[in-house]
């Protein structure tokens, strides 16, 4: 008994207004197993306003959707410019037909040979005019239909809101019971705001559809080309300034990357092709077994026979440099993020930016700062390839059970010991997945990097694109795919062991 009355008290505290009604409705909802049919008149009549006051956003949007649709239909039906265009066209055509007929009559009396054809075209114009007039009439006839449809939409919306209101409010009540900080009661200020918004929105919508010639500010958002130009110019100048003042730094970075790249490339290309290939196959066999070794041999044969060997090596050098740099930057950053949630929160938007910004956008500033060629290609690849390894390393480090870290700490482990013997080994599967992702991301970026002169296999794809050479393009694309698969299979197999 006391339980029921306390339940009642809770409903009262939650609803504040109309408590008696809600106490009985909620009791009914609780006693039913399935959906409980009830109709909340206040919710149906007030729609979005009620939903806002009762803090149910989903109902607000539902009601707003139906009511806006109804307002648009009703306004069009009552006052809209239905068939207006067609009517104007019909009038114009009728006029043209009449003029043509007069001209034709004149030509006939003058005995000109074109008279017949003019007569025919006048008839054609008349037919077209009649068609347009008919269409205009049909459109005008749609008026009452639209009004009917608008009323029906309004009715459906009200019915839906009225029926859904009580179950949704009851659900909100249940959530509030376990989290008393949730807003409850009847929120008057919210209701007023919602009423003001609805009035404004419906009014503007009605005006837009009903007006013969709605004002331009109603149809287009205000554009200020001047501001856009100023901001863009400022950014241009800033980049210019940066490239001038930081020239020494950027050329140092470029030089460094060049040294690494050249070492890698010359190492790969000076060796006889047979030796390099044999080494790759042996590596694949040792790390990943027979099947991958056979696949690798076949893929290498393809690259060699179809003339992609040198370019592949160039690509791999580019890829290797980028990937190694990505990992050198990304893994420590990921560990830091995994251990310090605040750092991760700060870095996450930057990672999002790096991953979602289209490559072409940052290729431009990269060229401005680093010139064209391979180093800017590496840097562009770096931007794109680092986020996955940071994310997955952070995820892995976060996933290390605190109980295991605590056990190691209880035996006097230093922070270095914790990092190298506990965190990294336990996070290794996740980190390896990140490494794999980064390598594949880097490879996909290689094609785009060739746009700024990074050479390699991407260059072939680019050439094929320019000359619409479908076959060449496919062959070069397949070569990139095979490079990716060789590297991926080898790296993945080591992560599995």
């Amino acid at each position: 008994m006391s339980e029921i009355s306390s339940e009642d008290g809770l409903v009262r505290e939650f609803t504040k207004q109309g408590a008696d009604y809600y106490a009985s409705v909620f009791a009914r909802i609780r006693s039913h197993a399935g959906f409980t049919w009830s109709f909340n008149w206040a919710a149906a009549v007030l729609g979005p306003i009620w939903a806002t006051a009762r803090n149910i956003p989903i109902l607000f949007w539902l009601a707003l959707f139906f009511e806006t649709l109804a307002v648009a239909q009703l306004a069009t039906g009552f006052a809209g410019n239905l068939g207006g265009e067609q009517r104007v066209r019909a009038e114009r055509l009728f006029k043209q037909a009449d003029e043509r007929r007069v001209e034709a009559e004149k030509a006939k009396t003058a005995g000109e040979s074109s008279a017949d054809s003019m007569l025919r075209s006048a008839d054609g114009l008349k037919v077209a005019a009649e068609n347009a007039a008919r269409q205009a009439e049909a459109a005008e006839a749609r008026g009452p239909m639209l009004i009917g449809a608008g009323l029906l939409t309004l009715l459906i919306g009200k019915l839906l809101v009225g029926v859904l209101a009580n179950p949704l409010l009851e659900r909100r009540f249940n959530r509030w019971r376990s989290n008393r900080r949730l807003r409850h009661g009847f929120h008057k200020a919210g209701a007023l705001l919602a009423a003001a918004f609805c009035l404004l929105a419906y009014g503007l919508v009605a005006w837009r559809v009903a007006a013969q010639a709605p004002p331009s500010w109603l149809t287009t958002a205000p554009v200020n080309r001047e501001w856009q130009g100023i901001v863009a110019a400022t950014l241009d100048r800033a980049l210019d300034g940066l490239s001038k003042s930081g020239d020494a730094v950027f050329s140092a970075i470029t030089g460094l990357i060049n040294i690494v790249l050249d070492t890698a490339a010359s190492g790969l290309t000076t060796m006889p092709w047979l030796v390099t290939m044999a080494m790759i196959v042996i590596l694949a066999w040792q790390l990943a077994g027979n099947r991958v070794a056979i696949f690798t041999a076949a893929a290498l044969a393809y690259l060699a026979v179809l003339g992609f060997w040198e370019k592949s090596l160039e690509t791999v050098a580019l890829l290797g440099t980028s990937a190694v740099l990505c990992l050198i930057i990304g893994i420590p950053l990921g560990i830091w993020c995994g251990r310090r949630p605040a750092v991760y929160t700060a870095i996450r938007p930057i990672l999002d930016f790096m991953q979602t910004m289209p490559a072409f956008v940052y290729l431009i500033p990269v060229i401005a700062l680093f010139g064209i060629g391979k180093p800017p290609g590496v840097i562009a690849t770096l931007v794109f390839g680092t986020p996955p390894v940071v994310r997955l390393t952070a995820l892995g480090v976060q996933g290390v059970p605190t109980s295991i870290r605590e056990a190691a700490e209880a035996y006097g482990a230093t922070r270095w010991f914790l990092l190298t013997r506990v965190d990294l080994p336990l996070a290794a599967p996740s980190i390896m997945a990140g490494v794999n992702q980064t390598i594949l991301m880097c490879l996909s970026m290689v094609v785009i990097a060739s746009l700024i002169g990074a050479k390699g296999l991407g260059e072939d794809v680019l050439n094929a694109l320019q000359y619409a050479a479908v076959g060449q393009g496919l062959l070069a694309g397949l070569a990139i795919l095979l490079c990716a698969m060789i590297i991926d299979r080898i790296v993945q197999s080591t992560s599995l062991r």
Binding site: S403, I404, E406, A407, A408, E409, A410, Y411, G412, A413, T414, F417, R421, V422, P425, L426, A428
Partner: protein
């Protein structure tokens, strides 16, 4: 290097007779505003609920005083949320107390530098966890040798000591397996072997057997008991199971809401609960292995029996428990004599035995 460190720490360990672990007025409050909350609690101005509401803090340990003697098995018993696991983590300073003093072997743990603290943890204190805390990517042997690895012992030494420790917990020959290949009971044996590997003075057992099924738990309790007594370890044993506390503990501390309600031998706690909460707890516990002849006997002076009568009675030692007395009483209808050093010190009659069996507070 390692040996020097060892003697260094060992030399400063307290002499026998003094308590090995001492906690004085230890408070632990979780939350950003713990200082304010502590002041309010000390002034008695706020209860647990108010602390949570006003300061958004949670009280873990409230004004705990305890001392554990060398070679003693000290059980901390309490339900989940009573603060027992929080309390034990202060002994090796895995948690920093909000206020209070903690001495291990006469040294102030709070005053130790990070390096000294690590040395204390790796040499003097072993810890066993409820969820084992083993490294899944390492073999059993490498897990057991973890404290020695942290001490930077040579690989050979680690290997030897780990094998030795594994033998002690009956896991000889399992060193090359990975931990996930072992059952729960075996994993906890590995945890125990790891705690024993560095030969520490103190073992902190944080609900070590709670995650195991009853049969294995029993078996491990027995093995642990004989092992720690044989090795003379000082043990702080956390449990939520009073039966376990009574079986294992030399003394038991009962905790609730971060406070220690009562400390005493199992017999004291069971027969003379000082608190309603403790009384409820011990109401259902079997006294067969707890009540001693000494506490049940009537001193001999109050009886007027002849020497010959006394000599004919079956006799027990004062530390025999109720279960032994019941067995004797089953085959003998008269009184039972209690002898200490040859002399009869007391008598126990059947009524006393039956009263002892009744599961209620003995007055």
């Amino acid at each position: 290097m390692t040996d020097r460190l060892r003697t260094d720490v060992g030399g400063r360990i307290a002499a026998d007779g003094e308590p090995l672990i001492v906690m004085r007025n230890v408070w632990k409050i979780f939350g950003a505003r713990q200082a304010e909350a502590l002041a309010a609690l000390r002034a008695g101005a706020a209860g647990k609920r108010e602390i949570a509401e006003r300061f958004n803090c949670v009280v873990g340990v409230a004004d705990v005083n305890l001392s554990v003697d060398r070679g003693e098995i000290f059980c901390v018993m309490g339900l989940s949320g009573s603060g027992k696991s929080t309390l034990v983590r202060h002994i090796n300073r895995l948690l920093e107390p909000t206020a209070g003093e903690i001495l291990v072997g006469g040294e102030n743990v709070m005053a130790k530098s990070p390096a000294d603290l690590r040395s204390l943890r790796s040499h003097k204190i072993g810890m066993v966890f409820q969820n084992f805390g083993l490294l899944p990517h390492r073999t059993v042997r490498d897990n057991v040798a973890l404290p020695l690895e942290i001490q930077r012992a040579s690989r050979q030494k680690r290997f030897d000591i780990a094998e030795e420790a594994l033998e002690k917990v009956n896991l000889a020959g399992w060193g090359d397996r990975y931990c996930h290949e072992l059952s729960g009971g075996m994993q906890q044996r590995v945890g125990l072997a790891r705690a024993l590997a560095a030969d520490p003075d103190i073992l902190l057992m944080d609900e070590p057997f709670s995650a195991l099924d009853p049969l294995i738990r029993r078996q491990l309790q027995d093995e642990f008991l004989s092992l720690s007594t044989a090795m003379g370890k000082t043990v702080v044993f956390i449990t939520h199971d009073l039966e376990e506390a009574v079986r294992i503990g030399d003394r038991i501390a009962v905790m609730k809401d971060g406070m220690i309600l009562q400390v005493g031998t199992p017999e004291e706690v069971v027969t003379r609960p000082e608190h309603d909460y403790v009384r409820k707890f011990v109401a259902d516990i079997s006294r067969l292995n707890i009540l001693t002849a000494r506490s049940m006997m009537v001193p001999v002076g109050e009886h007027h029996l002849t020497e010959a009568d006394l000599a004919a009675l079956p006799s027990v030692r004062p530390d025999h428990v109720l279960g032994d007395l019941v067995e004797i009483a089953a085959g003998h209808s008269g009184d039972i004599a209690v002898r200490e050093a040859g002399a009869i010190v007391g008598l126990i009659d059947r009524t006393a035995i039956l009263n002892g069996l009744k599961r209620k507070e003995a007055s």
